[in-house]
């Protein structure tokens, strides 16, 4: 008999699917072991003592036993349920989007404490901040920085010259930043970016949450930011995220 190895860890439930008669298969993000797939036996039964503690997006303290194919979740204690994500369709859709994004970068069974902290903070923001779409853009900006894709927003990526907000600018996903529209003439994937959008992205990249959380951009500005950031993600991930379609649909009302 192999020795049963147990480990106890904080975890966020990124994804889960029904498994067998009454089990759930969970994809968890943990600080020290990255992505962990664990089976929660009997979690679909209404009398399950674990079920409420391992809902989607929940942050919990879990005890896992290492198994052959999957780890087995043996105990779970809820730390943060993120109640508002259950009740608000836009915030809930964005939570799916956050988790799907994080899943793209999380390593399996390796340290990912910075990613864990970012997602934990992002999900709390999603519950509290007045503008959930702005929250998404701020979350993306932090994730891009963390994963080494921090976009250059202050200097022209072609000439290296500082780019004041008064100069008409463009954004190139391929070059990973802004350039003057003049320089952009020779850049195939550059798209114009308005002064308002650039200024807001700069705030999101450099300012503390207390600053950007006060802002309430209008719908047109949100649309522009969404187009720019989606083009950048598409370039980085080379595919569209599944949850983005739903976010877009819900945000459009």
């Amino acid at each position: 008999m192999p020795r049963l190895r147990l480990f106890s860890t904080p975890a966020i439930v990124l994804r889960r699917v029904d498994h067998g008669e009454a089990d759930r298969l969970l994809t968890l993000l943990t600080p020290t072991r990255g992505l962990v797939r664990a089976i929660a036996k009997g979690a679909r039964r209404i009398t399950s003592r674990k079920a409420g503690h391992i809902e989607l997006f929940a942050r919990a303290h879990v005890l896992l036993a290492q198994g052959r194919n999957f780890d087995v979740l043996t105990q779970a204690e809820l730390i943060e349920p993120h109640q508002r994500l259950r009740e608000d369709v836009l915030r809930g859709s964005l939570a799916h989007y956050f988790c799907e994004l994080v899943e793209q970068f999380a390593p399996e069974y390796a340290d990912s404490s910075a990613l864990f902290d970012l997602l934990a903070e992002g999900l709390l923001w999603l519950c509290d901040v007045a503008d959930p779409l702005l929250t998404a853009r701020a979350f993306e900006m932090r994730l891009l920085t963390l994963e080494g894709y921090r976009p250059e927003l202050f200097r022209c990526v072609q000439t290296g010259e500082p780019l004041p907000e008064t100069v008409p600018a463009a954004f190139s996903p391929q070059l990973g930043g802004v350039l003057s529209r003049k320089a952009a003439e020779h850049c195939r994937d550059a798209r114009p970016i308005s002064a308002a959008a650039l200024s807001l992205l700069r705030v999101l990249q450099t300012q503390q949450p207390e600053v950007w959380q006060q802002l309430r951009p209008e719908a047109a500005l949100h649309d522009e930011l969404e187009r720019i950031t989606q083009a950048y993600w598409h370039h980085i991930l080379e595919r569209r995220l599944r949850s983005q379609a739903m976010v877009h649909q819900v945000a459009q009302g």
Partner: protein
Amino acid sequence: MRLPGIGPKSASRLAYYLLRAPEAVSLELAQALQELKASTRLCSVCFNITETDPCPICSDPSRDQSVVCVVEEPLDVAAIERAKAYRGVYHVLHGVLSPINGVGPDDLKINELVARIRRAQQTSTPIREVILATNPTVEGEMTAAFLQRKLSGLSVTLTRLARGLPVGGDLEYADEITLSRALEGRQPF
């Protein structure tokens, strides 16, 4: 081919069993599967699985057609019917919203529900109440919240199944969402 609930181990057990059983067993099974596919369909009103269209529940004159209980799966209809406490009709969504798994509103029978309510409003038996009986999970509640947005302005009363402690459960082991809802939903004793 994959069947829900059947892992590689169960699949090989079933295969061994069928290989060793008399040929008649396999033939019988094959025939039963064929008949299942040929004789069942979705009810064109409520989208439950049925052999007749409309299904026995939709065509039962003693059922209250003005109350529609919206559930995720056909198995949920069976569960509520077993309780013998509900006299209205159903609407089966065939899933829940799950953006991360690529399941959006158009993949569920949501537009069909809106159309059904609109149709009924033109008749002498309009739908007055829609019970959102999706599961009390994140996905189920998000689906209910989405339906609430979709159905607002259709002049139907929306209700949700009461949520609280499961029978046979133990307070000590309840999570905080269940507990806070059980407290909110407390009733005179």
